[in-house]
Amino acid sequence: MTETDTTLTPLDTSSRLGCSLRDFFIASNGDDLLTAFHRLNELAPELPRPISADSLEFSFNRLFIGPQAPIAPPFASVYQDEDDLVMGRATQDARDLYHSLGLVSPWQGTFPDDHIALEIDACLQMKARIAETGSNEITTLYQNFLQEHLLQWVPQFAARVYSAEGEAPQILGVVRLTVDWLQNELT
């Protein structure tokens, strides 16, 4: 059963997709994952048919959460920094960017600021502000963020996801969608 979130309706398709991608990556349980997946499925019918919330979550946790060493940790610094660690330079970059926009991660200091969901959220914030104000600075910042940051690491992250054996094709599909979305955002 697909549940359409009416709060997303006023947004353009690209922002709706962004919101659902963000919600997918930040989901903390199978039900939230499935809900986000259904929304994505509406916008991207090419995604594989949904599976059960549990199957989706088990695979999601192996890929991104743990408790095993996650196959593809969804944090920029793991891919961008010299060290494969969280809380690195890329994290500081993401934090700086949010601060520049007057924004802050609600989990600053306990959760890496460069988590994919937070970064997609920052994209959405910038898109909304560009739409509201037409600000050139923010447009530049956004394009920079996509080109110099997100599109540097997300493809590497995606490659790790694609190389994982036996994980849910639904998640692989969402990751592919994410890369496409970021590329489409580049003007």
């Binding site: 930040i26 961008q80 010299e82 520049s100 007057g102």
Partner: protein, 757 residues
């Protein structure tokens, strides 16, 4: 391909001046745009975007099971650890850490950390669900209540905890168990118990000289220890002594890094150390090189020991049993006795044998008869717990009213168990930690139902993996608290994420040196990690919500307050401080009247003397004298040694990417002669097997090991099934039960076959 992160908004953003200009240029209202479900929040009005230019500095202490217990200085910027250093205030740490210590930031910020409480749907399935702390604790609390309702007691709930974190407040885990009622405790220690008992029989306590006084030694024997890897900070004292003219001898079955640096290396047959010590003693007797005043004034039973040596010990026998030629035995004994002072460092490896306690007693005797006990620069150095006089505040909760336990009047014992439970009506049920699998399987009345694992990784550290798997399969619930996904977490139903040392407050001392340091919280706990005592408080809260009065552990937990509660006047006086706050300025050393243990010759034995002849030992079923005890009979053609690697402490550290780069894969070390006989070439994959199991690993040919022995370093590699425990059994050491509640484990009396895979 990695490229260094290009600045998002131009490199200028890194510079605070241009950052400010940029902020101005953006001139954003500061309000969050209307994005549905937004995660990012508006920065609080008026909150300056402040970028700290300077570091905040915190005091930390390495809590691992390592001799050195280093004092650490942690440099934090913008709430993140930038780097760490060894504290210079401690002359022992001396401003440096080891390769493991320097990797700590990588541990905190490893993407592999366990981040959330999680529940596995089917143990070992790899199917995990994220659950909230509330849900995790609720499930655990309900299970504990269910057990109590079914059994009328909590004896089927067991705790397996040991040395993963020696921060004093971590004894709150034991405290959590006590505050639930009477439970089953896995007691004893895989580490050093046979030697502890041995030193207690000989001297009444395990107590070692200050390691810093090794500089005064004229002759140092490092016997069965590898400080070049396992206590790097002790090496500087050994080197300094050598510069001043001391001779350094290493006795070990393996040509270790320490042996390579020594003046003389003596390859002893594994478990033949006791024979070597007794052979040396016999030779000194013949030579009359005995400290008569010590043996007559401060010792008991030397005449009987003499008689034993004369009757039972010959140099030829000692040479045969130890593999050390008689000439070498003579030379070593004479040099040792002639030097003043002379010392022996007794490693823990030498007592992980069926004759380990007897070996330690024989070596103690050698040090004693040459008059080196109670002497600065001398001593039979094994370890001490003299600086551990904390309050163990989190450990002392009474059982809840009406709780029922064992009535056999046997209170819990342990090397680090400082609470006297001898007057209680009920007690906990003790089981042998070193025979975890066997004990779980044999448990009855009640059968174990639930296991809580903290500071421990039994699937990497306990013998006989196959048997352990069987044992775990009988348990109804397994809860594991850890920082990383280990082989044990794989067998858990619920895993709880634990903080690293930088994310909690505690206090640390060493079982080797005499320094005391606090461990401050330097950063916020990452993700949802919590410390052992915080977890205990949450569990207590939920237990009491379900049934009031069912747990006496406090329900609120501030780790700093709890750290403070560990201190008492005794500690302050011993270390010459007036408050724990003084430790913020750096670690302090105990005010010792002498650097020598037993400097006043007031031994704590029943006779008050050094006891060559211990009636207590005899009462406990051992020989009264430090007599030789035969080695364990081989169960396969090659002896299998599994000592510590440089890159890990048990199953900690090797899983970090940094260590993997330094030490990418496990190896088995095999003597070229042994390899040739079996057609094995350097780099071949080999199969090692015995009646307990097998493993496959790459062979490395070296004459650092003897021809009748093979060696693998015990370690947990995160992406490898390698596990030395597949091949080990749970054979007990001779001693350990007296002081630690269970005998030690004969980790180095193991045997296997090897063939080309």
């Amino acid at each position: 391909m990695k490229k260094p992160c290009e600045d998002l908004v131009g490199k200028a953003l890194r510079n605070s001046v241009s950052r400010r200009q940029f902020l101005k240029a953006l001139a954003i209202s500061g309000a969050v745009a209307s994005v549905p479900g937004s995660l990012l929040k508006a920065m609080e009005a008026g909150a300056e975007v402040s970028y700290e230019e300077a570091f905040e500095i915190f005091r930390n202490a390495c809590p691992r099971n390592c001799f050195d217990t280093c004092s650490i200085k942690t440099f934090v910027k913008d709430g993140m650890i930038h780097h760490i250093e060894g504290a210079a205030e401690s002359t022992f740490t001396d401003g440096g850490l080891c390769v493991k210590g320097y990797s700590y930031p990588r541990r905190v910020y490893s993407p592999d950390r366990i981040k959330y409480p999680m529940m596995q749907v089917g143990r070992g399935s790899g199917n995990w669900k994220r659950i909230s702390w509330d849900e995790a604790i609720d499930r655990i609390a309900r299970k504990i209540h269910e057990i109590n309702d079914k059994d009328g007691n909590l004896l089927s709930l067991a705790l397996d905890k040991y040395s993963g974190n020696f921060g004093i407040t971590h004894y709150g885990v034991e405290g959590m168990m006590s505050s639930l009622g009477y439970t089953t405790r896995f007691v004893g220690t895989p580490c050093w118990p046979a030697g502890i008992d041995a030193q207690n029989y000989d001297m009444g306590e395990m107590w070692c000289n200050d390691p810093e006084d090794m500089v005064k030694s004229k002759y140092i024997i490092v016997w069965g220890a590898n400080p070049a890897w396992c206590s790097v900070h002790s090496m500087k004292y050994i080197y300094e002594a050598r510069e001043k003219g001391a001779k350094v001898v290493v006795i070990d079955p393996v040509l270790t890094q320490t042996a390579a640096k020594a003046d003389q290396y003596i390859q002893v047959k594994t478990a033949g150390d006791g024979a070597l010590a007794l052979g040396m003693a016999r030779h000194l007797l013949d030579k009359g090189m005995i400290d008569q005043s010590f043996v007559s004034q401060h010792a008991l039973g030397f005449e009987e020991f003499k008689a034993y040596l004369k009757k039972n010990v010959s140099l030829d026998w000692a040479a045969k049993e130890s593999g050390v030629p008689t000439l070498v035995i003579q030379q070593l004994a004479e040099e040792f006795a002639a030097a003043d002072p002379a010392t022996i460092w007794l490693g823990y490896g030498l007592q992980r044998h069926t004759n380990g306690g007897a070996t330690v007693r024989a070596i103690d005797a050698l040090v004693a008869m040459t008059g080196n006990i109670g002497k600065e620069g001398g001593g039979a150095r094994y370890g001490h717990l003299r600086t551990w006089g904390f309050n163990y505040n989190a450990m002392v909760n009474p059982a809840p009213e009406g709780a029922v336990g064992m009535m056999d009047g046997k209170p819990i014992k342990g090397d680090f168990h400082f609470i006297d439970g001898s007057k209680a009506k009920f007690t906990d049920r003790s089981m042998n930690m070193n025979q975890l699998a066997r004990e779980i399987l044999n448990s009855a009345d009640p059968k174990l139902r639930m296991l809580w694992v903290a500071c421990r990784n039994p699937f990497s550290q306990d013998p006989d993996t196959a048997q352990l798997q069987k044992a775990f399969d009988t348990l109804e619930m397994v809860v594991v608290v850890d920082q990383f996904f280990t082989k044990t977490v794989d067998q858990a139903d619920i895993v709880l994420p634990h903080t690293t040392l930088f994310e909690e407050n505690t206090v640390n001392v060493s079982y080797w040196h005499y320094w005391l340091g606090i461990n401050e919280q330097a950063i916020q706990p990452m993700y949802e990690s919590k410390s052992d005592v915080q977890i205990a408080a949450m569990l207590s809260k939920r237990m009491n919500e379900i049934k009031a009065g069912s747990c006496t552990f406090p329900v609120e937990m501030d780790t700093q307050k709890w750290m403070e509660k560990e201190f008492n006047q005794g500690i302050y006086d011993f270390f010459g401080i007036s408050s724990w706050k003084d430790l913020r300025k750096g670690p302090v050393k105990a005010k010792l009247p002498s650097s020598a243990a037993w400097h006043d010759f007031k031994f704590k034995t029943p006779s008050g003397k050094y006891e060559f002849k211990s009636q207590l030992a005899a009462d406990h079923g051992h020989k009264a004298l430090p007599e030789y005890r035969a080695k364990r009979k081989p169960t396969a053609s090659l002896r299998l040694l599994t000592p510590h690697s440089k890159f890990s402490i048990h199953s900690q550290f090797q899983n970090l990417d940094f260590m993997e780069e330094l030490n990418p894969e496990p190896l088995v070390y095999i003597h070229p002669k042994t390899a040739v006989q079996r057609g094995i070439k350097n780099g071949n994959m080999v199969r090692i097997f015995n009646r307990h199991g097998e493993l496959k690993v790459k062979a490395s040919l070296t004459d650092a090991v003897a021809a009748d022995e093979i060696m693998m370093y015990q370690a947990w590699f995160r992406n490898s099934p390698f596990n030395v425990q597949n091949l080990l059994d749970d054979e007990a050491a001779d001693m350990g039960a007296f002081k630690t509640g269970a005998p030690g484990i004969a980790t180095h009396d193991q045997f296997a076959e090897i063939e080309k895979a």
